[in-house]
Amino acid sequence: MCGAPVQEEQLDRTLPASVDPATASIIQGRVVRDGEPVAAAYVRLLDASGEFTAEVVSSATGVFRFFASPGRWTVRALAPGASGSADLDAGLGFTETQVEIA
């Protein structure tokens, strides 16, 4: 299984049984445009060097989630006619961010 899983509707902290927040960095959040959630945006996680790490499609409520490791990351979102990005420092456990696109 390597395709992007369907993203959650709600931004919550329920995790798959295989994920331990004590050893993983969970980066999640919402894509928004003019304050409204953006569904079906292409959201990619870039590492500290700007290299692509993963990509998902945001849910109907704009939610995305990545399973990464601690460090500096950039979340970049693309939608028809709009794009934007957000930088963050992730530790172990949850890091939440909002990506504004325009």
Partner: protein, 277 residues
């Protein structure tokens, strides 16, 4: 063979929708995207349930591939245009797989589903039914498929190109970061492998970089074009993308995709593994 023979633009695709002799095929692991909207006239192919043997870890055999394509209504003389999500990973995998079984005319839609959506082009939920054909496949062309023993023999001898992300290559992650991390095998990479992430071959919208950019990318990474090359990733789909760039776009003659990839290699007993600090 030139770029135009193997890679078509979204504009070209739009102009050739519904044209007899051209079959659009959407390929994904999760076909719910197709069900919610696909390119008009496109049939769907499920990477997992239709291209993999249901019991053994291997592809469907020649007879199975013939039955599959016959049922999809794809004929030997049809031009097959493949596209999909995940930056065309599974479409590139299907492209390689169609070539493995000898389909003559296969093309990849540049940018796949993402570029199509970002351009706001038409998607439809209409059911697509094509009349069945009598498809005849060739024996597998193993000049493009690498197996584990040749991969081990290639260490220090051939180009090994690990196309996973730097964190997977280093052994810090077991899988791409959109997936829950599975720790069922060892992490790291095959000794002497170069790390050229598949994504360096693509633009942000999923289209391939130009031939000049691709050539510069692999030259700068240290690929020795006088030697044969084996590309691998985790399960062989991202490395199909790189195989396509090297073999189909740049015309490098001896490039194989190792579809066993890290999920096989990282579980083998006794083989050498390197990790980066």
């Amino acid at each position: 063979m030139s770029r135009e023979d193997v890679l078509v633009s979204a504009d070209w695709a739009e102009q050739h929708l519904g044209q007899p002799g051209i079959v659009f095929v959407e390929v994904d692991e999760d076909t719910t995207a197709y069900d919610k909207g696909h390119i008009p006239g496109a049939v769907k192919l499920d990477w997992k349930t239709e291209l993999q043997d249901p019991v053994r870890r291997d592809f469907v055999d020649k007879a199975g591939f013939e039955a599959l394509l016959s049922a999809k209504g794809i004929g030997n003389d049809d031009t097959v245009v493949l596209y999909g999500g995940n930056n065309n990973w599974f479409a590139a995998y299907a492209y390689w797989y169609f070539k493995l079984y000898g389909h003559r005319d296969v093309k990849l839609l540049d940018g796949g589903r993402k570029k199509w959506e970002l351009d706001s082009r038409e998607l439809t939920e209409d059911t697509v039914q094509r009349p069945a054909t009598q498809y005849t496949a060739q024996e597998q062309d193993t000049s493009i498929r690498a197996f584990r023993d040749e991969v081990i023999a290639a260490i220090g001898q051939q180009n090994l190109v690990d196309v996973r992300s730097p964190d997977e290559f280093a052994g810090r992650l077991f899988a791409p970061a959109h997936l829950p991390q599975e720790a069922s095998q060892r992490a790291g990479h095959i000794p002497t492998a170069l790390n050229v992430p598949w994504s360096k071959a693509a633009n942000e919208d999923g289209t391939f970089k130009s031939d000049d950019e691709l050539r510069a990318l692999y030259t700068e990474a240290g690929l020795d074009t006088s030697k044969d090359t084996i590309a691998y990733c985790r399960i062989g789909e991202r490395s199909s993308h790189t195989w396509f760039a090297l073999h189909e776009l740049l015309g490098e003659p001896n490039v194989k995709n190792y579809d066993g990839s890290w999920t096989e290699y990282g579980s083998l007993v006794g083989v050498p593994i390197e990790k980066s600090s």
